[in-house]
């Protein structure tokens, strides 16, 4: 079922031309292929695409594969940018290598880890996978920063994400520890929350470091 890397690149480019740019087919030039290209021939064999003259059409059979290819590429981009902190051309290049490895459920795991992102770092939409639909259906909001909570919401502190020990100490000395229940009462002008019977105020810089598992 897996197609070759070259074929994946073609599917991806084709999806963008057709789904996002509104064309009905893509020219060879746009896909950087010619009629003898091995990847293209592979896709034709699978009946994923149809070639008429110098234009390539995406067949309904190939739609799902193309969609998932784009999804894997953009998830890889997010991983580079958000987690590995690789930005710009370097990040894009690594993402192109990484996307071909995201098969057999790895994409689902990655998507869950990134908390089902909807857009890539360039602002393009990431086609949702079945894991995204399931999460939405279950009302599972995952783990979010305190800044994402609305006033009045509560949850459990999941983890603190701070590379700065001083910040970490401040938060921990206030009782902001994983497992503790937290109730947010204000978000402006500062974040006001309760842990236990004590109330605290922090600025958004610190609030961004506190990650909360929402409770329904």
């Amino acid at each position: 079922m897996n197609v070759s890397e070259k074929a994946e690149e073609i599917l991806e480019a084709l999806w963008i031309v057709i789904e996002e740019e509104g064309d009905n087919a893509a020219h060879f030039e746009r896909l950087s292929v010619d009629a003898t290209d091995a990847g293209l021939q592979e896709l034709q064999r699978l009946a994923y695409v149809e070639v008429k003259g110098e234009r390539v059409y995406l067949r309904p059979e190939g739609r799902e594969e193309a969609r998932m290819t784009v999804r894997r590429h953009r998830l890889a981009e997010r991983l580079m940018m958000d987690v590995l902190d690789l930005k710009g051309a370097e990040g894009d290049a690594r993402a192109c290598e990484m996307e071909h490895l995201l098969h057999r459920g790895v994409d689902t795991k990655l998507c869950t880890l990134l908390n089902h992102p909807t857009t890539c770092p360039h602002g393009k939409p990431i086609p949702p996978g079945s894991c995204c639909e399931e999460a939405r259906h279950a009302g599972d909001t995952g783990v979010v920063a305190l800044t994402e909570l609305k006033a009045g919401e509560s949850g459990e502190i999941a983890y603190l994400s701070t590379g700065n020990d001083k910040k970490m100490q401040k938060l921990m000395s206030m009782g902001v520890l994983p497992g503790n229940r937290i109730v947010l009462s204000r978000t402006f002008p500062s974040y006001i929350f309760k842990v236990g019977f004590s109330e605290f105020a922090v600025d958004d810089e610190l609030a961004r470091e506190i990650f909360i598992r929402r409770r329904e």
Binding site: Q169, I192, A201
Partner: protein, 665 residues
């Protein structure tokens, strides 16, 4: 390390000599747990009872006698953890670990026992002789919390006392626990096996003798405690390399989550300790205080409430009642009609030397100027200000104000915490400059010191200036806008120019409380006492200097030096004298203007320009000395120069602007 242990007294006094027969009793704990109240109950002597995290920067010492044994009682600044973050916490920690106390009372808030117990564990593992005081039991019981104190005592292995010291509950039990304290009794807790292994690996490298348990010391070294690393380096000498090696290796291995691991381990132990010994019922509905608290923190209602507090607390109470009614009575009646004529009559008879006559009752005389200013003008204004400030402080309003203005203060390089010194500055800039040490970074302390010196008029000066400007309609508005603009502009610029890390804001918000008259009274009296001990002598010195200056002609020379500058600002030569006075006491200067204005020598534009320039102009002598002490020569002289240049530049610009636009003409 010892030099950082500054023992601040509220009044200048020689440090109490500690005789070795005396036992030492220390109080430690988070801010807002009632440590100071307990301190006062134990010693009988009052100190500041603080409701604001951080204002108990002073360390209060006292004495008490229990069963014939004398104890020296020491109240440390509030701390959240044995691993210090702020300078105050460092001071508290260092005192605790170096002064070898005989008994340490750890005071915690019963309502937040889960959060505060981890510090108890830290204190126990440091090997300190500890008694746990669970305070604020009354409010905890009202919230439905239940404690099994004997069980807790058994599990912790140290004496545990439940108390509500504000209600005088549990004091007898605390005293009994101190008297019956058995220093041999020690408890031990262990962390997870891997963490314990790492701790003993560091501990086994330590060879020196320390006041703190090697296990606790190792844990603090692993958490990169700088001042302790420095101490260990000195004690260990050549062996330090081995210690450092072990620490670095473990820190690297555990780089992902060492701090978190330790906290979670402590939380796990505390959970075990509290199991069966502590229970809580369902949450209660919000009280009246909670609702008011929410209103103070909502910007839409919070700012109007702030304006109401300022209007009633400052304008009506301090401005009208203090600076108006009381000053009129004291100055007009008491001094004007009785004391001054009486003293002058007396002097006419007996003080035959002209210089002595001049010194005592002349134009700048000690009695006629120094004492009259201090008692009749400054005392009522500063006194009413401190009453208002102490009431606001005791109610717990300041942390709410801090969170409200945090965003604005971030723009000027400070964080919300700085509202305390800034608001206090409106009472006395000198005292406020001392309080800036509660700010976390040096950058914030420098910016706050500069803004206090430049744009915050103290209450004495404020009182006179408000009276002065009320004569010219619109002048007060121009003056206020000018100062506000300068405050924000200079803050904004210094936030960009002063190097250092960006401020961060986090603060505990204590519950709103009805201010307790006794607390307010004590706080006010403590501040007044400080003010008079520090400032009153300066009034006298200022009088003497002015008289000497007048008699020797130095004053006239200084005035003539300033005259061209005055002309540049469009002011008459006579104003120069007011500026010279201004350095001795900010309000002297303003009062000088007042005399000129009543004599009709100033038009509204000149009056406004002079008032703005004078307010911005150099702080008084006392503030300058404190600046030097707190920030060092270089910074304080730098601030002095900046402030002087700015004051005259702004005065010059304002004069031109007012003349050009015809405002106030």
């Amino acid at each position: 390390m010892c030099e950082s242990v500054q023992v601040m007294k509220c009044c200048p006094e020689t440090p109490v000599e500690i005789s070795w027969s005396e036992r030492k009793l220390f109080l430690v704990g988070n801010p807002n747990v009632g440590k100071s109240v307990l301190f006062n109950a134990l010693t009988g002597a009052y100190t500041t009872v603080s409701n604001y995290p951080g204002t108990s920067v002073e360390i209060s010492r006292g004495e008490c006698e229990l069963h014939g044994v004398r104890y020296e009682v020491l109240d440390t600044p509030g701390m959240y953890s044995l691993l210090p973050i702020t300078e105050e916490e460092r001071v508290a920690r260092d005192i605790l670990l170096q002064e070898r106390p005989d008994v340490v009372l750890h005071v915690i808030d019963a309502r937040n026992i889960e959060r505060m117990l981890p510090m108890t564990l830290q204190l126990i593992e440091s090997g300190l002789p500890l008694i746990l005081v669970i305070n604020i039991m009354d409010e905890a019981e009202r919230l439905g919390l239940k404690f099994d104190l004997p069980l807790l005592e058994e599990k912790l292995g140290i004496p545990v006392v439940g108390a509500a010291v504000r209600r005088k509950r549990g004091l007898k039990e605390i005293r009994a626990a101190i008297v019956g304290f058995d220093p041999q009794q020690r408890a031990a807790f262990s962390y997870a096996a891997d963490l314990e292994r790492d701790i003993s690996r560091v501990a086994s490298c330590l060879t020196g003798a320390y006041a703190i348990d090697p296990r606790a010391l190792s844990l603090l070294l692993l958490q990169r405690d700088e001042s302790l690393s420095e101490m260990v380096r000195k004690v260990e000498g050549d062996n330090y390399a081995a210690v450092e090696g072990a620490v670095n290796e473990i820190v690297f291995e555990r780089r992902v989550d060492l701090h978190l691991r330790i906290s979670l381990e402590r939380k796990r132990i505390c959970k075990g300790v509290l199991e069966g010994a502590f229970s809580q019922s369902e949450e209660q509905s919000p009280s009246w205080g909670d609702r008011l608290s929410a209103l103070t923190m909502n910007p839409w209602t919070g700012f109007p409430l702030l304006l109401a507090v300022l209007y009633f607390g400052l304008y009506q109470f301090v401005g009208h009642f203090g600076a108006g009614t009381i000053v009129d009575f004291l100055e007009g009646h008491l001094f004007g009609a009785y004391i001054n004529p009486w003293v002058i009559a007396l002097s006419d008879k007996y003080l035959t030397w002209p210089w002595l006559y001049e010194l005592m009752v002349g134009e700048y005389g000690i009695i006629t100027l120094g004492v009259r200013y201090a008692v009749a003008i400054v005392l009522p204004i500063v006194g009413t200000f401190f009453i208002a400030f102490s009431m606001i402080e005791d109610s717990g309003y300041f942390p709410r104000l801090a969170m409200l203005v945090d965003r604005i203060f971030k723009r000027i390089g400070l964080n919300g915490r700085a509202v305390i010194p800034i608001v206090l500055g409106f009472g006395c800039d000198t005292m406020a400059t001392i309080v800036t040490r509660t700010l976390e970074t040096r950058r914030e302390r420098v910016i706050a010191t500069l803004l206090l010196a430049l744009a915050i008029p103290c209450s004495a000066q404020l009182g006179v200036i408000l009276g002065l400007l009320s004569a010219a309609p619109g002048a007060l508005l121009v003056w206020s806008l000018c100062l506000l603009g300068i405050f924000l502009l200079i803050g904004f610029l210094s936030a960009r120019l002063v190097p250092g890390e960006r401020p961060m804001f986090y603060m505990e918000i204590p519950p709103l409380r009805m201010p307790q008259p006794r607390n307010v009274l004590v706080k006010t009296l403590t501040r007044m006492q400080w003010y008079f001990m520090e400032i009153f002598p300066l009034f006298i010195i200022a009088s003497v200097l002015l008289v000497v200056g007048k008699l020797t002609g130095v004053l006239a020379w200084l005035v003539s030096l300033l005259e061209p500058v005055m002309h540049l600002l469009g002011l008459p030569s006579e104003v120069a004298a007011a500026f010279i006075f201004g350095f001795f006491r900010r309000d002297f200067g303003a009062a000088g203007l007042y005399d000129l204005q009543t004599n009709g020598l100033l038009n509204p534009v000149q009056l406004t320009v002079a008032a703005v320039t004078l307010t911005l102009f150099v702080p008084c002598v006392a503030q300058f000395l404190v600046m030097k002490k707190e920030r060092g020569w270089r910074t304080s002289v730098g601030i002095f120069v900046i402030v002087t240049l700015l004051a005259f530049t702004v005065g010059f610009g304002l004069n031109r602007l007012l003349l050009l636009t015809g405002i106030l003409a």
